[in-house]
């Protein structure tokens, strides 16, 4: 083996060493980043879970949203009730719902469980 080959061999070894170091460092950095990321996420989740203000906010927002959805459904169903009723009554040539008398006041009171003003 001449001097040139020895030099090339040394260079090759050095390159291989550097490649191996790079591979190891990549694995280390990946593990480090993963650990840091996980700990940060866990910490932030714990902070959010322990914070009473956030608890309160989620509760009120959830209840508010549910109430809004229920109210909207009720309003739309009442609209649909009247709309279909009016169309059908017009087709059957019956008096419109608005022209008909409402239920007796006692019944209304029973339904809403409060006093109705006449």
């Amino acid at each position: 083996m001449n001097r040139y080959d020895l030099l090339a061999q040394r260079g090759q070894d050095e390159v291989e060493r550097l490649v191996n170091v790079g591979k190891l460092e990549y694995q280390h950095s990946y593990r480090l980043a993963k650990t840091a990321f996980q700990s940060t996420i866990n910490e932030s989740i714990n902070t959010l879970a322990d914070n009473p203000e956030i608890h309160n906010l989620i509760e009120t927002q959830g209840v508010g949203l549910a109430n809004e959805v229920i109210e909207e459904t009720r309003e739309r169903s009442v609209t649909a009730d009247n709309f279909i009723d009016d169309i059908l009554r017009a087709l059957l040539r019956r008096p419109l719902r608005s022209e008909l008398p409402p239920p007796p006041v006692e019944m209304q009171e029973k339904a809403i469980k409060i006093k109705v003003t006449k």
Partner: protein, 215 residues
């Protein structure tokens, strides 16, 4: 903007305590059906699974002491571990109990409570368990002639279905029933648009046939 909103709210009719309509009642019924189906599905899975997991054999246990009735308990055990029979038993019992208990205690089922409806007897007295059960069984009468008994809500002046008429009950809005005007405007505008489109299409077609005839 605020003044307009106030005006709109002021003129919105409050139908609180009035007869509840078909759509509200249909949605409430659907909600009840959904709740019931979830409960029944859970029960039909839970009961046979728990019996087979715990390896409970009441027939063997009782059969040792009372051999003459062990066959009866074996039959019960087999029925409870059989999905079809359990479905039948729990289904029927839970549906009847669901409607009768909720109506007799609160005057409304969870579905009706969600939609803000309440069942009020014409007599003014509190609705009893038996009457609530009777009213529920009358649902089948309303459903029998292709649901005509339910559709009767649309025709009747007091929005009473057949089961309401026989059980002598009203179904009334138990909340400040306000119609959503914006939704109504949307529905009417979409209907008008579709009507216009239909007119355009028919006029184009008629023009096309006229030109064909001239040619």
């Amino acid at each position: 903007m605020d003044i307009e909103d106030n005006k709109r709210i002021k003129f919105r009719p409050n139908l609180s305590g009035h007869y509840a309509g078909f759509v509200s009642r249909l949605i409430a019924f659907t909600v009840d059906l959904l709740i019931l189906s979830i409960v029944i599905m859970f029960l039909t899975w839970f009961v046979p699974t728990s019996i087979s997991m715990m390896q409970l054999r009441p027939d063997e246990l009782i059969g040792r002491h009372f051999p003459y009735i062990s066959n009866f308990f074996e039959l019960i055990y087999q029925s409870f571990t059989n999905l079809g029979t359990t479905w039948g038993i729990f289904g029927i019992i839970s549906i009847i109990l669901y409607y009768s208990l909720f109506v007799s205690f609160a005057g409304q089922t969870p579905g009706k409570a969600l939609l803000g409806l309440r069942i009020v007897p014409i007599s003014g007295q509190k609705i009893s368990f038996n009457r609530a059960m009777f009213r529920y069984l009358l649902y089948y009468l309303s459903a029998l002639p292709l649901g005509l008994g339910f559709i009767w809500i649309l025709i009747d002046d007091r929005r009473m279905a057949w089961h309401d008429k026989i059980a002598r009950t009203y179904v009334l809005y138990a909340w400040e029933a306000r119609p959503d005007e914006q939704f109504l405007v949307k529905v009417i505008s979409t209907m008008e648009e579709s009507r216009k489109k239909l007119k355009e299409v028919t006029s184009k077609k008629s023009k096309g046939t006229e030109t064909d005839q001239i040619k």
